[in-house]
């Protein structure tokens, strides 16, 4: 049965690493009500920066804050284009995303791979000191779990602050934010910065895990993010004790599980994406059915 366990562990690890991306999309799509395609560019940005720094011998743990900082910049750019240059939200994010495609290649030179000899956050000495007794697969799980939960808790704490509350308000009623004497543009920019910080972090961790940056790795990530946010929030709609961040983290794990199920079932390879979409749909429908049950019985 170790096969099944390995599979579950690997899938959950993927889900947790990508949960960081989902947190970012949760902030922009769900809280700010801002369709942010920057994600397709900031995700590989985190990976590009990480790949270059690892190759140059930087302490692997330090690549994470650097990736986050660059991600923040990407979010800032989108925010400024939208607020100061008055470009529509979707278009502003597309402009940043497209620019990042070139910028990422400038940073990394081309697609970049990391030797096994180079340490990552999963193999460096401090990690080995704590988790050395575990196999690599489990170390990846634990480190990813720590990251996913840590940032989830930080976000939850943040949403309870005055700044976090204002962020939640700007996506709900921008007029109120103005009436509260706050610049709604600045609040939106802050949200974009925070979101893309997390997305770039997700890309950085993927780079550690896969030991590679590829210029195409960002394609479709915003779709993934949206799917996980929708899965998560739909499934847990009526359970108020489940916070949005938790729901989204679970959504990410579930989506990765859908893909893994399709792979495992040995279906014709070309149907992989179709099958995962169908599974996604099934989950959504079941989630909605339960919601209407609760409504009629209430």
């Amino acid at each position: 049965m170790s096969n099944f366990l390995d599979l579950v562990v690997g899938t959950i690890t993927q889900g947790l690493i990508y949960a960081l991306l989902s947190y970012g999309v949760y902030i922009t799509y769900r809280i700010l009500d801002f369709p942010d395609l920057t994600v397709d560019g900031s995700f590989p940005l985190g990976a590009a920066v990480t790949a270059v720094l690892l190759t140059k011998g930087l302490n692997p743990y330090l690549t994470l804050p650097v990736a986050m900082a660059v991600g923040a910049l990407a979010g800032l750019v989108t925010g400024l284009i939208h607020v100061k240059l008055k470009v529509r939200d979707l278009l502003a994010s597309i402009i940043t995303m497209t620019s990042l495609f070139s910028i990422n290649l400038q940073i990394a030179g081309s697609n970049l791979a990391i030797e096994r000899a180079t340490d990552t956050i999963f193999t460096a000495a401090p990690t080995m000191a704590l988790l050395g007794s575990m196999s690599l697969i489990y170390r990846k799980l634990v480190v990813s779990l720590i990251l996913a939960v840590f940032f989830k808790l930080i976000l939850d704490l943040y949403f309870n602050t005055q700044s976090g509350l204002l962020l939640r308000a700007v996506g709900d009623n921008t007029t109120l934010v103005t009436t509260l004497a706050k610049d709604k543009g600045s609040v939106k920019i802050l949200g974009l910065v925070i979101a893309n910080t997390l997305v770039a972090l997700s890309g950085a961790v993927v780079c550690h895990e896969q030991r590679a940056f590829s210029s195409t790795m960002g394609t479709g990530q915003v779709v993934f993010g949206l799917a996980t946010v929708i899965i998560g929030t739909t499934l847990f709609k009526n359970l108020n004790f489940v916070k949005g961040t938790t729901a989204v983290m679970i959504g990410s794990v579930l989506y990765k599980a859908c893909i893994q199920v399709s792979i495992s079932l040995g279906l014709p390879a070309n149907l992989l994406k179709l099958v995962s979409s169908v599974l996604f749909l099934v989950i959504l429908v079941l989630g909605n059915r339960r919601k209407s049950e609760v409504n009629t019985s209430a």
Binding site: G10, I137, R211, S214, M217, I263, G266
Partner: protein
Amino acid sequence: MKKTIAMVTIFAIILSLAGCGRSSNKTPVIGISQYGEHASLDNCREGFIQGLKDSGLVENEDYVIDYQNAGFDDSIATQIAQNFSAKNVALMCGIATPAAIACFAAAEDKDIPVIFSAITDPVKAKLDKGNITGTSDKLPVDAQLELIRRLQPEAKTIGILYTTSEPNSVSSIAEYQEKAPQYGFTIEALGVTQQSEVTLAADSLIAKGVDCFSNLTDNNVVGVLSSVLEKTNEAGIPVYGSEVEQVKIGCVASAGIDYYELGRQTGIMAAKILKGEATAAEMPYETISDFNYYINSVAISEMGIKVPADIAEKAIESGNQ
């Protein structure tokens, strides 16, 4: 809440059935992860499977194949490789760089041997050290340059389209530029970042007045080859492909590698690993050295090119699509 529990249970059952069902038998599994569907990559895979057979191994007795296609999606390639690792496959085969990288990453934990194929620069992809080996489809640049010189004695410039993010393409361009002067050519290389830019770049090269085009094994360029050929044919500029499939589509000729052969060579190496004759760590990756001349007679005559007799003798007619 009940429904959630039900769903999760069903899920777990499916996963377990899927996971266990395949490994209940003890026959070694070879996990083939192909990055995407593509004539050259498909040929490569088929050759690989043939190579295993040619080594005397019998399918379903000595090995079982688990073939997965990542649909050109990096994160799916990651999960495919994880699936292989969880199943404890005896060998992972990664066809094309992203698939091979994903396999190598997933194989690290259990040190599962990895074999790759269709990677132009394994060193750049950091796939040359460790429990990994394979075959490189390094372009026979010298042979191609010589072919072009023989078929177009008067030609001066060769235009090459490539994707800037592809390390394979970048290293090939460097080699072309290094060797071209020896054959009396200058190279006009034009890089694009995505497939949609290729035909525009082709227009640009045509406007520069290049005497011919030569292709690398660049996925983006090869993907829209027909559109490029439309333009070059109209301008009367011959295009030399990098392998047989491109000549079939309409390139005039190619001094190219046979991906089926490349795959077969890989399969033979894989068989050695399975039989225990050598480990992947011990085997340095091999570059295919043999090449073939492929000719598309129809395209060649349309360009008014005369094929020297000795080449015509050796060339494989590949005119049909």
